[in-house]
Each structure stands twice: as C-alpha cells, then as structure tokens.
C-alpha cells in the first residue's frame, strides 16, 4: 500500500511551520517599529555593480547598501541590524507603500509623480546622474543627434525608456528600441552588437565601459538627455522618520565637507579636545540637542559616520577610481570642488 492515504495530516503540520514566519505591524510610527523589531528593513537593488551586490561571502555591499548601514547605525546603534530586501523595478514602490520596508535605497530617480502621486517622500539626492549613450568608437559618431535609424539597447523598468522616447521625438529622428530587463543582459546584447548604442544612467555606462575587454574601443557620447537625481525615499506621512532618513544622508555629505572621516569622527566628537567647529559639534552631538529633536540620542551621526565613513569615503570604496568601475566624482563632487553636492547646514 502507498501511504498517501492521509495527506491531510502531513499538510496541517506543514502549514503550522509557515505561519510563524508571519511578522508584525506596519502602520504605527516608523521609528517605533524599527526599534521594536530592532532591525531596519531596507529596500535595495537586486544586483547592480557598485550600488548593491553580494561579495563572495554572500554579504550585501555597495553604495546604496552603505546608506542602509548608516541609517541603521544612527537609529539602532548597529550597522549590522539591517534586513536587506532586494526589490525589482516593479515591486519597489508597492513594497514601500505596503510597509514591507522602512526605507528604499535603490538608485531611484526623484520625479514629480513618484514624490506626489505615489504617496512617497524622497529625502534627498545621494547620486546625481543623467542618461547618456555609449557606442563603439568604430561607428564614428560624435553626437546622439547622428543616431537616426540606430538600434538602442535600454534597460527597462526605469525612467530611461521615457527619456529616450522624448529625446528622439523632440529631435525628430527614428530608432529601434531594444528593451532588456537586466543590466547584465543589456551589456551582453550591446557587446554582441545587437544594438548600436546602449543607453542608461551615465554612472552605469561608465561602469559598464570599464568592464569591457578594451574600454577604449567604446565612447560615451557627450549628450546627457535627462536629469536623474537618485536618492533614498520613505513613505509619505511620517515626517519624523523622513527627517531621520534625510539628515542621516545630510550628515554623511556634511561630514565630507567638514573633514570628518571614519577614522577621526570619534576623536572629533569628544566634548573636550574634540572639534572646535561649532557645526561639527552640533552634528556630532557634543553641543546642542539635535539628536533629541530627531527622536534619537546625541551620538547618532557619530555612529553613522563611524560605520561607513563620510560620503567621499563611501563613493571611493564602491564606485571611485580605485574600484573596477572607476567612476569620477563629476557632478557628485562637493560644491566646493566643482560638483553640485550640497547639504543644508546643521544649524
């Protein structure tokens, strides 16, 4: 006899195991939720070189990941208390709206409709990007205006498709869009010359170019056809949580401007013998009560910077010239260095 006669039992038992996986609430004040869970649920990309990727040990690393760590360090005191939720282009907003994550740091472009219509709040810009084109040098094109009749590879699920359509329509030239879902496959398609040029955020293009066998065989065209300010975002309606997310980002940027680094932040935060700069003192909590205003303790910014370093250090670690991606700071240099990166003052 075959023992399948009483399947009900084994299944009831199985059901009993999945139920404990159910987890708690989503609606109360976000800060309280995070503290109660003792874990920050942070939405990240499913795999984008430099921004969010896994190392050989299976840990998430990258530019966006470090923001999650900084936020967790500021709120919970431990940069390791992050639950990374990797999200695709289509479920990132529903996940945030439904409260599955508390913050989304997934190279997301800040646009009007997302900010206003989708019930979300962008807390700042951590990467100024723009959409550009890369093409083989052998094609001999110097401007995107010469692309009449070309096939263009696009990574879907982003604003790039819209920008591209707008650009070609306003310039009245025709093209064949080749939409591809992931960056890896778009890259493979471009390399096989399925398309003449590949369009994506300029940061992605530079990163992609660096990974070709002969980077010099490919040129990035001068046109940047869109503004892509990428930044973290939170749900609409919880201003306290939005403030925390915003000012953790600002602290990382200000730290670079003020010369606060991962190595010296603890020394500078000393009440005696620390920094003389009043802004540093306010930010690092040795003077005033900015932490308390946010609903955090005085050392919040110290912990964030201690965990991941200042903006410049994060950039250098994951995207900068010493990495395989080799991106220049460009627009993302501080405003004092010719870029447009700028944090409101800690006052």
């Amino acid at each position: 006899m075959i023992a399948l006669t009483r399947p009900g039992l084994s299944c009831a038992v199985f059901a009993a195991f999945v139920l404990p996986a159910t987890v708690g609430t989503a609606q109360a004040a976000t800060l309280d939720d995070v503290r109660a869970a003792d874990e920050l649920k942070c939405g990240i990309n499913t795999g984008l070189a430099g921004f969010a990727n896994t190392d050989d040990a299976g840990n998430w690393v990258g530019f966006d990941v470090d923001y999650c760590k900084a936020l967790a360090a500021a709120v919970l005191g431990d940069a390791g208390k992050v639950q990374y939720v990797s999200l695709t282009g289509k479920n990132r907003f529903p996940a945030l709206q439904a409260g599955e994550i508390e913050v989304l740091a997934r190279n997301t472009t800040w646009t009007f409709s997302r900010d206003v219509d989708l019930g979300l709040t962008f807390v700042g810009v951590n990467y100024y990007d723009g959409q550009g084109f890369i093409g083989p040098r052998s094609l001999g094109i110097s401007s995107a205006g010469e692309l009449d009749g070309a096939s263009v590879c696009i990574q879907t699920g982003t604003t790039t498709e819209l920008n591209l359509a707008d650009f070609f329509r306003t310039n009245n030239i025709s093209y064949e869009p080749v939409p591809i879902e992931t960056n890896a496959e778009a890259r493979a398609a471009y390399e096989a010359e399925r398309c003449d040029v590949y369009t994506s955020d300029a940061s992605g293009l530079a990163a992609t170019r660096a990974t070709f066998d002969n980077p010099n065989d490919h040129v990035i065209l001068p046109e940047i056809i869109s503004k892509e300010p990428l930044g973290p975002l939170v749900r609409h309606g919880d201003d306290q949580w939005a403030d925390i997310a915003r000012w953790v980002l600002n602290a990382l940027i200000s730290a670079e401007e003020l010369g606060v680094t991962q190595a010296n932040v603890e020394a500078l935060a000393q009440k005696d013998g620390g920094s003389d700069n009043p802004e540093i003192q306010r930010m690092l909590g040795s003077q005033g009560s900015m932490g308390a205003m946010l609903g955090l303790d005085a050392d919040w910014a110290v912990r964030a910077i201690k965990a991941v370093g200042n903006y410049g250090e994060i950039f250098a670690r994951h995207l900068g010239p010493d990495t395989r991606l080799g991106l220049e700071r460009g627009l993302n240099a501080l405003y004092t260095n010719g870029g447009i990166l700028y944090s409101p003052p800690f006052r």
Binding site: G149, T156, T158, P177, E185, A188, A192
Partner: protein
C-alpha cells in the same frame, strides 16, 4: 396507518439527517463565508489604497504612454495611450502564441514519429531532445536561444539570401510586399477560391461516401486559391511590389524585420512545447489498435494512406484533449518573454505599472487577457474535438 407524532427535537434532528437539506445548508455556508472573505479583501484594499493616497480605476489607460515599442502590429507611437500600448502587447503575445502553436505542433508530430522510428539513431536523438528540453526550466531555454541568436553575424556581415533577405543578430530582414489598389481584385479572387474549395471538398466527400470514387481535392483547391488569382495578377500587371531592405548607416532600412527576441522566444516555446506534444503524439499513436494497422495492410493500403486514413484519425481522438492543454501552456508560457525583452503584454504592463503605479489594474488586465485567450483556445479545440470525435454507438 398514520405515523406516530414526533417530538420537536426529533423533527429537528430529522432535518439534520435529510441529505438534501444538509446539502443546501452546507452550500449556503460556503457561499456566505466566501462572500464574507471577498468583502474582507475588498474592504482592506479600499482602506489600504486610501491610506496610501493612491487612486484606483482604469482612467489611466487614456493617458499618454510616452514609451516606444519595437514590434507593433498596429499603429503606435510614444504619444499613444496606455490602453493602446496594452493592445500592442496583447497582439504581440497572440502573434508569438500562434506561431509557437503552429511550430510546436509540427515539431511534436515529427518528433513523436521519430521516436517510433525503427532507426536506432533517429529514435535516440529524438529521445535525447525530449529529455533535454522537458527537464530544463523554460526560462533558461529562452535565454539560451537568445544568446545563440546574438552569436549570429553582426549587421555588417549579414548572411544575405539573394540580396533580398538578410540574416544577422538583429533578426531577419525581409522584403515587404506593398499592395496597390488593383490587388483588392486579386484578394477577392483568393477569398472566392477559398469558398469554392470549401464547397468542392464537401461535394467530393459526399461523392466519395456514395460512390467510392475519389476526387483530387488538394490539387484543385491549389488551382482555385492560387492559380486563378495568380493568372489575374499577371493580367493586371503585378499590382504588388516588394520593398527590398537596403543597408543603412546603422541598420537595414526598409523591408520588414523579425526581431531576434521574437525568434528566440518562438524557438524556445515551440521546442519546449514540441517535446511535450511529441509524447502526446507518441502515446496517441501507440493507443491505436494493432489490428487496425494490420487490417489496413491486409486490404493493401500503401503506408502513406495507412498513416493518413487509418492511424492518424484514430490517434487524433486520443491526442486532442492533451494537445489543447499544451497549446494553453504555450500561450501562458509566452509571458516569460519579459526576460529577453520581447514586448508582450506582461512586458508592456510592467512598464506601465512602473510608470503609473496602478498595480491592481495592470494585474487585472493581465488576468482578464490570459483567461480570455485560454477560454477561446479551449472553445476552439472543443469544437474541433467534437467534429472529429467518433459517433458512439452505445
């Protein structure tokens, strides 16, 4: 004899043992709890949407889509509406499904017969093909074919067939026929030829049943459908011209292009489903009584006729229900197109969802679309099945 009067409690317990009443009570219970369940879901959804400040409804379908689609069976550009984008995507799904069903049926019958071949090598190769394709996730197979097609020659090194058809890793570029007004007359003749063939076939079948004499329906229908219109076309001075693709700066210009994504998806779907169909065909043919084949041989039918008139008609009756299932599977599996960027309804819907944030609406459109397709396929195949089914004696 009158029954002894019952007490009230007995009456109620009798009610409970009445099978009919118990059935009604049970159905009422199920219906009510289901209604409550749905009410619960709808109420939750409404409050959640309101809480998140999201709008719902299908009004967004009229907004401009503002993205482009590379394969359009109907007019579409980036100023068209979301609704039209869905229509383009839906047609693309139907296109790949119809092409896939045709090819999968062909492959399935071919491989099914190959597996029954007496040639050891042929039946082995067929078996290897079936096992390989059936046991690897379709998603991987779609990617595999896409990668293979990307490995074809690049545009500048296109394989040219007679300088009119070009094969490269951007697809197959072929001449596009351009019809002049006079072509309508030819078109009318073709339609008339088709109708004529239909009646001719009916008459021939009747005559065959009555007298046993056969009529070459195949040849005469070719004459009717192609011959006459062809002749008229010569008289009208060929009211049709071909737009031959020419090498442009980046791509071939003019002509008609079949994208690599369509080819890869089509190959993967038809090879995958073809393997399943071959198993269906094989078991269908094996199910035909050996005596039938022997009897056919005994009355001296040649092998071709034996397969056509004796084996296949009987095998088809076994084959068609599972074949319908495979057709439905193929249609549904075409939704995996999204991984290689073939712009079917799921891929387009994803872009729309991404821009408009109307998740509930987009997913409901997906479901309605696939349910309709499934229903239509089922109805069509049921109709065909009824027509070919044996009229049962008992």
């Amino acid at each position: 004899m009158a029954a002894p009067p019952r007490t009230r409690i007995q009456q109620i317990s009798y009610l409970w043992t009445d099978e009919r009443l118990r059935g009604i009570a049970f159905q009422l219970l199920v219906t009510t709890s289901l209604a409550l369940f749905f009410a619960f879901i709808i109420w939750n959804t409404a409050t959640n949407l309101k809480h998140a400040g999201l709008a719902s409804g299908y009004g967004f379908l009229q907004d401009a889509a503002s993205f482009d689609i590379n394969q359009r069976l109907i007019d579409y550009d980036s100023t068209s509406s979301y609704g039209r984008a869905f229509l383009v995507g839906g047609l693309n799904t139907v296109l790949v499904a119809v092409l896939g069903i045709a090819a999968a049926t062909f492959i399935g019958f071919l491989v099914g017969l190959m597996r029954l071949s007496s040639n050891f090598l042929v039946s082995r190769i067929a078996a290897i093909y079936v096992e390989l394709t059936r046991n690897i996730p379709l998603l991987l197979q779609i990617i595999f074919w896409w990668v293979i097609i990307l490995a074809l020659p690049r545009v500048r090194d296109s394989i040219s067939v007679g300088d009119v058809l070009f094969l490269n890793n951007r697809g197959v570029r072929m001449p596009q026929p351009i019809f002049e007004d006079a072509f309508q007359f030819v078109l009318a003749l073709i339609v008339a030829g088709g109708i004529g063939t239909f009646f001719l076939a009916r008459w021939a079948r009747k005559r065959h049943e009555l007298t046993g004499r056969t009529f070459p329906v195949g040849w005469s229908s070719i004459g009717l459908i192609f011959g006459l219109p062809g002749l008229s076309m010569l008289f009208l001075g060929l009211p049709i011209s071909l737009e031959i693709p020419l090498q442009g700066k980046f791509n071939f210009e003019g002509g008609f292009n079949v994208t690599p994504e369509l080819i890869a998806l089509w190959l993967a779907l038809s090879l995958y489903t073809g393997a399943f169909i071959s198993e269906v065909v094989r078991s269908g043919i094996l199910a035909v009584d050996k005596g039938q084949i022997e009897a056919a041989r005994a009355v001296g039918l040649p092998p071709g006729l034996r397969t056509r008139k004796i084996i296949l008609p009987q095998a088809l009756r076994v084959i068609i229900p599972p074949l319908t299932n495979q057709y439905l599977n193929l249609t549904k599996n075409s939704s995996l197109a999204v991984v290689i960027g073939y712009q079917d309804i799921v891929s387009i819907g994803e872009t729309v969802l991404n821009q408009s944030g109307q998740a509930l609406e987009v997913i409901s459109i997906y479901m309605a679309f696939y349910l309709t397709l499934s229903l239509l396929t089922s109805l069509l195949m049921n109709w065909y099945n009824k027509r070919t089914a044996l009229v049962r004696e008992r």
